[in-house]
């Protein structure tokens, strides 16, 4: 088991190196950081000094290696736009994005999974048909439109929930801020979380439904019926568990998407997270922030993949090879 985790982590290293390379290439070739940082009035001496300070006079691969080395230590340079260390900016924004993403994830799983199972098991019921129609809407509405519609309805129309910001936050420890502990924080979270989670929720629901219908047609479910097992055990034990095997991977990847796509939602709701920071940085080509964001998203995907693999391992005995090979044979 530890060997399994280790091998997965080792496999992630090349992925991170490649993403780091792209992030760095962007840093080196998109826009002229020196120009951006110096503004209009500067002397040639100042320019050369800055080039040297930024290490831009060194060979490309040396620069790349240095960039990665600093990235590993959490240093991504100085934001051109805000003239502050990027690491500090990210640390400030990370809690907002994580809280939003986790809430959206929990929401999409907590609602999408049962709905998927329900629509598969009670395929012909009216409620199941209603869910299917609703899921079509959820899948086809673009995120920003969902967000705007929700704002129109619940903020502008009914005035129940705020349309922007994170509400009042509470500091926990040195660098974490949470909106979970105040009423205004929770109210501010509701609309963005629904906006961000809706697409994934409907996707999960349709996926679970399709997989479950597939599983319900298999021979082992027929044989379970022929043995007189209870309906409950067949549907919510045997069938559901088998449904989870393919669902886990796709859902895992989708959750990575949630973090990545949070930038649309954050923009619509002016949510002070990393996505918003990224969008604001794109406008002024604030490359250090952009490359840091890119790397961070890559790390998120790597971590999610690892969790997916571990879940797989827990659910599917066919993957636990070490034990079986010792006992196999006629």
């Amino acid at each position: 088991m530890p060997a399994f985790i280790l091998s997965r982590l080792l496999q992630a290293i090349p992925v991170l190196l490649v993403v780091g390379f792209i992030a760095y290439a962007m840093f080196a070739f998109v826009g002229d950081p020196v120009q951006i940082m110096l503004g209009q009035d500067y002397t040639e001496v100042q320019r050369q000094a800055l080039i040297h300070d930024l290490g831009l006079d060194q060979p490309f691969f040396v620069q790349y290696a240095k960039f990665m080395w600093r990235a590993v230590q959490g240093e991504f340079g100085i934001s051109y736009r805000l003239a502050r260390p990027v690491s500090g900016l990210i640390a400030e924004r990370l809690p907002a994005t994580l809280e939003l993403s986790v809430t959206a994830t929990v929401l999409s799983l907590a609602v999408g999974l049962p709905m998927g199972v329900y629509t598969a098991v009670y395929r012909r019921s009216w409620l199941a048909r209603g869910f299917m129609v609703f899921s079509l809407a959820g899948i086809s509405l673009p995120t920003f439109l969902t967000g705007i519609l929700l704002i129109l309805c619940f903020s502008v129309g009914l005035g129940w929930l705020p349309s922007f910001g994170r509400g009042e936050v509470v500091h926990i420890g040195a660098w974490w801020t949470t909106g979970f502990l105040t009423l205004s924080g929770i109210k501010a979270l509701i609309l963005p979380a629904i906006t961000l989670g809706l697409f994934q929720m409907t996707l999960i629901m349709r996926l679970v439904r399709a997989e479950m219908l597939e599983v319900l047609r298999t021979d082992y479910i027929k044989f379970a019926r022929a043995r007189g097992l209870t309906d409950r055990s067949i549907k919510f034990g045997h069938a559901l568990r088998n449904t989870m095997v393919p669902v886990i991977t796709i859902v895992g990847l989708q959750l990575g998407m949630i973090v990545a796509f949070s930038l649309v939602t954050e923009t619509v709701f002016q949510w002070p997270g990393m996505g918003l920071l990224f969008i604001q940085s794109v406008g002024v080509a604030d490359i250090p922030v952009m490359s840091a964001y890119l790397l961070l998203i890559a790390v998120v995907f790597v971590v999610i993949n690892l969790v997916v693999d571990l879940l797989y391992y827990a659910v599917d005995p066919r993957l636990r090879i070490e034990r079986s090979s010792a006992q196999a044979g006629r």
């Binding site: 298999t218 021979d219 082992y220 027929k222 044989f223 379970a224 019926r225 022929a226 043995r227 007189g228 097992l229 209870t230 309906d231 055990s233 045997h238 568990r241 088998n242 095997v245 659910v315 599917d316 005995p317 066919r318 079986s324 006992q327 196999a328 044979g329 006629r330």
Partner: protein, 329 residues
């Protein structure tokens, strides 16, 4: 009283282009401890008959007529929850492909124990003991250790043994085995049939054995039902069916009895093909392929008629016209 009595069973599939009658007036019975072989070409309705008996017809298929009696009481009109208590407990089922009939995510012990505890009031520990005993009985070596193994850790033949244990672990009075060896390696088929035969004898279980292998029927069955196009063409004791078949279709099938040296998987090639359900000819369904066909066969449909030791749905055995079996020569 017979253990199972199927009377005039009719199964239909409503489709957009009208109702398909897949089983049409099937009647037979199985005595306690008896092995009934069921043979017939692909699509004859063998599996459907089994599915109808255990109440697991796939919708939109439904029992449109007839009665099924188990130990004298009707089971064809029971609710699904009542039927559930019969399945596994009074009628077991064995399916064709052991690679797909076991849940890959549960250990075989868990599947056995769940089945046992669904039907019998046993503690987890007692159910486990019983599960180990059954695994031993079906010939899984080191059963006490291997009970916690998963299906993929067993070979195909062993998996079918596990499937048999699962079908029999609550001691049903009847087990329906639908081509239990078709998916297996030829070298293992005989072992599995021998196992089934031994278990049925030891536990007094009746068996409805569906197969394409006339050799297996000849070795295993007490009686045989030959099905053709959703009906029973001939039914009777195995010796008579094999040696002196009364129905021309059975005769054709027997022409293909494989000798031990040349085992063939499928039944004899009789010229032509069985009609589709949408195009069953008037009169005797076998008439387009029958070498003995005569005028009446194309007009009137024969029911099962006594034909010596067996019963055959064939006008050649209409006692009012010809003496029994004389036509056969």
């Amino acid at each position: 009283m017979a253990l199972l009595d199927v009377q005039n069973l009719t199964v239909e599939f409503p489709t957009r282009r009208g109702v398909l009658r897949a089983l049409d007036g099937v009647s037979f019975s199985i005595e306690a401890g008896e092995v009934l072989g069921v043979v017939g070409e692909s699509g004859a309705g063998k599996s459907l008959t089994g599915a109808a008996i255990i109440g697991l017809l796939e919708p939109p298929g439904r029992i449109a007529g007839g009665r099924i009696l188990l130990e004298g009481s009707r089971i064809d009109d029971l609710s699904q929850s009542q039927l559930r208590r019969i399945r596994g407990r009074r009628i077991g089922a064995i399916f064709q492909d052991p690679l797909t009939t076991l849940n890959p995510l549960y250990s075989i012990g868990r599947q056995l124990i769940e089945t046992i505890r669904t039907h019998l009031k046993l503690s987890e520990a007692d159910a486990r003991k019983r599960a180990v005993r059954w695994l031993e009985e079906v010939g899984i070596p080191a059963a006490a250790q291997r009970i916690d193994a998963y299906p993929h850790e067993f070979s195909g033949g062993q998996r079918q043994r596990v499937v048999i244990a699962l079908a029999l672990c609550a001691e049903p009075a009847l087990v329906i085995a639908d081509e239990p060896t078709t998916a297996l390696d030829v070298s293992i088929q005989a072992q599995i049939i021998a196992l089934l035969k031994r278990l049925a004898r030891d536990h007094g279980t009746s068996v409805m054995l569906i197969t394409h292998d006339m050799g297996v029927i000849a070795e295993t069955a007490d009686r045989v039902a030959v099905m053709y196009a959703g009906r029973i063409a001939e039914i009777g004791p195995v010796a008579e069916i094999v040696r002196t078949p009364a129905h021309p279709y059975t005769l054709g099938l027997m022409g293909s009895i494989p000798s031990i040296e040349h085992r063939v998987e499928r039944l004899a090639q009789i010229d032509g093909a069985m009609p589709r359900l949408t195009a069953i000819p008037q009169g005797c369904a076998f008439n387009p392929r029958c070498p003995r066909v005569f005028a009446r066969c194309r007009i009137e449909r024969p029911d099962l008629l006594p034909a010596g030791a067996t019963e055959a749905a064939c006008w050649l055995h209409d006692a009012t016209i010809r003496p029994l079996r004389a036509a056969h020569g």
